[in-house]
């Protein structure tokens, strides 16, 4: 059973009671929330995700609930709960769905040490992973959405999972999070994209999510081998250039963007060393010409 096949009212009922038990690639999250915006966003973005019965083990039990008391009426707020524990400060109620997404990211990056987890987007073509480890503002999510729009398979736009045992890239297909300018850019570049309403004034500015293609969701059990490590650097108006990158630099950028490199110790080093050795490392400077950018990446994939 997938979310879009749930009978009428069932999603609402689940979210209000024991929770919606959702398969997100290798992770199962049990999600509860009374917010209509959360329900609508889950119905949109997780339409092709599998719903599991309560008897299945859930990795994380999370909820986004209204802050009680006066906050119910005056400037309502939402807070994220991981079991009984609220790890973050509450946010405005309008940000309930982004808060859920960020909360889930935190749950995974703070607890799943069966993976080396890198803050970065990862897409796949022909079984090979293209990783873009990058801090916010580098344009990785924009590029990721654009690549996915043109047929690359989405593994994740935020959390790159490398299985510690197999050293393969594990898909975590969830909505792609776009910020500020890139919302309009992707809306123009990919008119068929299903986007949730823009949420303004978040910690990251304006945020909108794009639904992951159902093909990416259905192939969530297909892992990928290392292919390319590309460091995107967006500067408005700059000419495009894809240049070779020293493997040592690629390695260090992965380390800098890894959530649990130090937790894994020596193993973390070995895994990254293998991944970098097996990957083609590049730096990609671009100024917003998405069509040209996709052509460059498609070429890269053909050469390999």
């Amino acid at each position: 059973m997938i979310v879009s096949e749930l009978p009428d009212g069932e999603l609402h009922r689940l979210l209000g009671r024991s929770g919606l038990r959702l398969r997100l690639g290798p992770i199962v999250a049990n999600i509860a929330s009374p917010f209509e915006t959360v329900e609508a966003a889950l119905a949109l973005h997780y339409a092709s995700h599998e719903v599991l019965p309560d008897s299945e083990f859930a990795d994380f039990h999370v909820a986004v609930d209204p802050v009680p008391g006066l906050r119910r009426w005056i400037r309502p707020q939402a807070y994220f709960r991981f079991d009984a524990n609220p790890p973050f400060n509450p946010l405005a109620a309008s940000q309930a769905f982004p808060l859920l997404e960020w909360g889930l990211n935190w749950c995974i990056s703070a607890h799943c040490h069966q993976y080396l987890i890198i803050h970065g987007a990862v897409v796949e073509r022909a079984g090979r992973a293209l990783v873009m480890p990058a801090p916010p503002g580098s344009g990785k999510s924009t590029l990721c959405a654009a690549l996915v729009a043109r047929g690359w398979r989405l593994l994740s736009d935020e959390l790159t999972l490398i299985d510690v045992e197999t050293r393969r890239f594990v898909p975590l297909p969830r909505p792609v999070s776009l910020k500020n300018e890139s919302i309009r850019i992707i809306a123009e570049f990919w008119p068929e994209a299903r986007m949730s309403p823009v949420v303004h004034d978040t910690l990251k500015g304006s945020v909108a999510h794009v639904r992951p293609p159902s093909a990416s969701v259905q192939l969530a059990d297909q892992t990928a081998v290392p292919g390319w490590i590309v460091l995107p650097a967006f500067r408005a108006g700059e000419p495009m250039a894809l240049t070779p990158l020293a493997k040592s630099t690629g390695f260090m950028r992965l380390v800098e963007n890894a959530f649990n490199y130090s937790v894994l110790g020596r193993r973390g080093f070995d895994i990254l060393a293998d991944v970098v050795a097996a990957s083609d490392c590049r730096e990609f400077r671009y100024g917003g010409q998405l069509n040209d950018a996709i052509a460059v990446f498609d070429d890269l994939a053909r050469v390999r």
């Binding site: 299945e56 083990f57 990795d59 009984a84 524990n85 799943c112 894994l264 110790g265």
Partner: protein, 356 residues
């Protein structure tokens, strides 16, 4: 005792986790809340049953074990850094709790998740230790004047110090209960009895009886119970380990009496036996019951501790018990006028911190 559910059962015997129908979901959630996932992982490994745990929950156990290894590595390194910082001051640093269990290689350390280092130094040496640590890059964390006063005048420790680069946190204690508390154990006696650790020059841990008494004090003479069960598991492990020596039990109750910590030992023995099945000789129980509270207080404390130690912050009964235990903890820590002042300051500060 059924009331601690799957976690309580599994802490007594890992085989009991394999129920039909399974309850792994509940076990992992409760163990994580109690900060006991790493401990459980170690126990499943030790009993050879990790391979039988289904893949879903096993990933979490193994992840916690990985995190535990990383934390232990980091704590050992931190202890070395601290030693380097205070080197030459001419007295041993006593490691308390987690770091002590780890460096002295005692059973509670197996799989235990923790990252802060607690040390105990003579009160007269506090200024020297603090400046040595500051020179090594540790800075105080609480900048509000009330907090500084709270720690420096009333508490038994400095405000937590954090290393500016590694972000590691160290608590420097000079006693095991606050200056303002109602009971006062003889701290210099703890220093006299401390035991050096082989292979770690300059480091000591408390003597076995004192280690148990400190753990009991840390748990039951406190206002915070959210990690109470984990602390109780520490005590259980220490008692099982040191208790193989028959002399230990008589020494323990005697020491507790002399140190004015009899009541806290009584709670520790009562609740480890009740909740974790710790094997405690009847004679020790009898000796400790001399320090038991009266009937009414006893019944009330039983109730509060049973509810407050349970790792179920989602339950109203647990939250309610912890709120009362919070007040009790403060009551033990300081005289009423001071307590009223402290809680007033904290209340108003909390409101200030809320975004408008």
């Amino acid at each position: 005792m059924k009331s601690y559910g799957m976690l309580g059962e599994t802490l007594r015997d890992t085989d009991r986790a394999f129920t039909d129908p399974p309850h792994w979901d509940e076990l992992v959630r409760r163990a994580r809340e109690a900060d006991l996932l790493g401990t459980l992982a170690h126990r499943f490994d030790a009993s050879g049953r990790m391979v039988d745990v289904p893949r879903g929950p096993r990933k979490h156990l193994e992840s916690a074990a990985v995190l535990g290894v990383a934390q232990h590595r980091a704590v050992a390194r931190e202890v070395r850094e601290i030693l380097r910082a205070v080197d030459g001051l001419g007295f041993p640093v006593i490691l308390l709790k987690g770091a002590g269990y780890l460096i002295a290689n005692l059973p509670p350390s197996r799989g235990r998740l923790f990252s802060d280092v607690d040390i105990l130094v003579p009160k007269a040496q506090l200024p020297a230790v603090e400046s040595a640590l500051m020179l090594a890059g540790y800075a105080t964390t609480h900048h509000h004047p009330h907090d500084q006063r709270y720690y420096r005048r009333w508490m038994h420790e400095l405000p937590p110090m954090q290393h500016i680069k590694r972000l590691t946190v160290i608590d420097v204690h000079h006693a095991i209960v606050p200056e303002t508390a109602r009971t006062h154990p003889d701290t210099p006696e703890f220093f006299r009895a401390a035991v050096p650790i082989a292979g770690w020059p300059g480091v000591a841990v408390l003597a076995p009886t004192d280690m148990v008494l400190h753990s009991a004090t840390h748990l039951f003479h406190n206002e915070e119970f959210s990690h109470g069960l984990r602390d109780l598991v520490d005590i259980d492990q220490l008692l099982r380990h040191f208790g193989t020596d028959a002399q230990f039990w008589t020494a323990l109750t005697e020491r507790a009496g002399r140190m004015n910590l009899g009541r806290l030992l009584y709670y520790a023995l009562r609740f480890t036996a009740r909740l974790l099945g710790t094997p405690i000789p009847q004679s020790t129980m009898d000796a400790a019951s001399r320090y038991a509270p009266g009937r009414v207080t006893g019944a009330l404390m039983d109730r509060l501790l049973l509810d407050g130690l349970r790792p179920t912050a989602g339950l109203r009964s647990t939250r309610f018990a912890r709120r009362l235990l919070y007040l009790r903890g403060h009551w033990l820590k300081m005289p009423v006028p001071l307590l009223a002042w402290h809680l007033t300051v904290k209340t108003f500060r909390r409101e200030q911190q809320q975004p408008a």
